[in-house]
Symmetry: C2
Subunit: 239 residues, 2 copies
DNA sequence: TTAATAGTGTCTCTGAGACACTATGTG
DNA sequence: CACATAGTGTCTCAGAGACACTATTAA
C-alpha cells in the first residue's frame, strides 16, 4: 500500500472545515394534496432570472440556526399560512454549478396537506405519472388543464415524491394526512386511488383497511350527502 | 391575508444566496458487508478532538466541484482502495451546533461491499439490531466480541442503513452487491439471513429467488467444498 | 456406506382481486 | 317507489412458511 501516507494526509486535511469553500443550504418542498379525486402539487411561478416564468417548487434558503424542518415549516407558513404540516425528508441535491457564485445544496422534502395548498402565491398543478406502480421517473403537471414545464429538475423531484408516497402507502398510515379528522372509507379510498393512479377494489380495500386496526369508527354517519350516508372513521394513533 | 407583502419580501430576500452564512458539506458512509454470515460495518477510530477515541463512520468533507457521489467514492478509495462500490444516499443531517465555527451539513450514504471493508485505518464491527423487522432504531456494534459505543449519533445512522437495506431486500436485487460475480443459492440466502437477522426457509427462498428471473445459472458447480457442490449463479442485469 | 448438503413436492395459510349480492339512506 | 351508494359473502389465485422428502457428491 504505497498510498497509505497520502490517504492519511488527505484524511487529516479533510477534517479542517474552514479549508473548504462554504455552500448555501436550501430546502425545496413537494406539497402534495388530493383535490376532488386528483393528486395535486403546489407550485410557485419564478420571478427571478434563472428559469424566470417557469413553475417551480416552493422553497427557500435555510437561515441562521434554523433546522431543515424549521425551514420547511417556515416556507409552508410564508406561502400559505399552513401550520403543523406532515413533512419528510426525501433527497439532497448538491451538484455544483446550479448557481455561479456559490454551491447550493438543496434538500427536497415531501409534505402532505389536506386539500392541497393554494394561495395568492401558490397554484395547484395536477400530477400525472407517466409510469405505473413504483417504477419511478418524472411526471407531467397540468395547471388549469394545460401541461406546464417545471423549472430545473423539479419534475423529477415530484416524481420522486410520488414514488416515495406510493411506497409508503402500502405499509404506513400516511393517507390520513390528506384527510380531515373524520372521514368515510370512500374518501380514504379516493385518496389511495389518486396516489396510486388506478382504481382499487372496494371490498379488498375495506378489508385491509379495517384489519389494520388503526381505524376507529365514530358511531356517527356523514351528513349532507344526497345518498345513503356512510360511517365516519378516525385514525387511532395520531400523535 | 395581511402577511402577503411580508412573505413576498421574504421570498425575494431568500433567493440571494450570498446573504446567508455558508455551511460546510460532508459525507458519512455506512459501509456494510457480510463476513462469514455476520453483518458488519466499517468503522474508523477518531483521532481528533470531538469524540476522540470513539469509533465513527468513515467520512470527509466534499471538495471543490466534487459531487456527493464522487466524495463518497473518494472516501472509499482513500480508506481502503475500494473502487466501484454500490452507494446510495440515505439521509441528510444539518442540525446546527455540531461544529462551533461553521455549520456542517452531513449527507449519510449507504455503501455495500463484498466481504466488508477492512484496512489499517478501518476495522469491522458486527452489527446487532435491537429491533425486529423494519421497525427501525439504533443498533449495537461489537468489535472483536466487545460492545463499543459509536461517536455522535452514528449508531442511529447505522440503524437507518439497516432498516433501509432490509426494506430494499424485498423488492430490489441489492443482495448481489454483497456477493462475487458467481455465487450459490446458499450464499445468497446467507446474505439475506445476515441482513434480516433471522433464518429464512430454504425452499421459499429458492422459489422466490428463481422466480424473479434475474438469476442465471452458470451451468457449473462450486469447487473445493467438502460436500455436495451447488450450482453457481450470476445476476442477469448488472450494469 | 455415511455424512452433509443440494434440491423438490406438497400442504396450508394468508392477503388481495373480482364480482355479485344485500342493506339502507335520500329524493 | 327508484336510485345511488354503503357494506357483505364468497370464489379464486398467487406468494410464502413449514416440513418431509429425494438426489448427489466428498470422504
Amino acid at each position: 500500500m504505497t498510498n497509505k501516507k497520502d490517504s492519511e494526509a488527505a484524511f487529516l486535511a479533510a477534517y479542517d472545515p474552514s479549508q473548504w469553500p462554504g455552500v448555501s443550504l436550501a430546502v425545496d418542498v413537494v406539497v402534495l394534496g388530493v383535490v376532488s379525486g386528483k393528486l395535486c402539487v403546489s407550485l410557485v411561478k419564478r420571478t427571478e432570472m434563472p428559469q424566470e416564468g417557469f413553475f417551480a417548487l416552493p422553497g427557500g434558503f435555510v437561515r441562521g440556526a434554523e433546522s431543515l424542518e424549521e425551514a420547511v415549516a417556515r416556507v409552508m407558513a410564508e406561502k400559505a399560512g399552513a401550520e403543523n404540516v406532515y413533512a419528510e425528508q426525501m433527497y439532497t441535491f448538491a451538484d455544483a454549478g446550479r448557481d455561479p457564485r456559490t454551491r447550493v445544496v438543496s434538500v427536497a422534502y415531501l409534505a402532505l396537506l389536506r386539500g392541497g395548498l393554494e394561495s395568492p402565491d401558490v397554484v395547484l398543478g395536477q400530477v400525472k405519472a407517466t409510469w405505473a406502480g413504483e417504477e419511478g421517473g418524472g411526471v407531467s403537471v397540468e395547471v388549469g388543464g394545460a401541461a406546464v414545464e417545471l423549472a430545473f429538475d423539479h419534475a423529477d423531484i415530484v416524481g420522486l415524491a410520488l414514488k416515495r408516497l406510493r411506497g409508503k402507502l402500502r405499509y404506513t398510515p400516511v393517507a390520513y394526512e390528506l384527510l380531515g379528522e373524520e372521514f368515510t372509507l370512500r374518501q380514504l379510498q379516493e385518496v389511495h386511488e389518486a396516489i396510486l393512479g388506478r382504481p382499487v377494489d372496494k371490498n379488498s380495500f375495506r378489508r385491509s383497511s379495517l384489519a389494520s386496526a388503526d381505524l376507529v369508527p365514530m358511531g356517527r354517519l356523514e351528513e349532507d350527502v344526497p345518498w345513503r350516508p356512510a360511517e365516519l372513521y378516525t385514525y387511532a394513533e395520531r400523535e
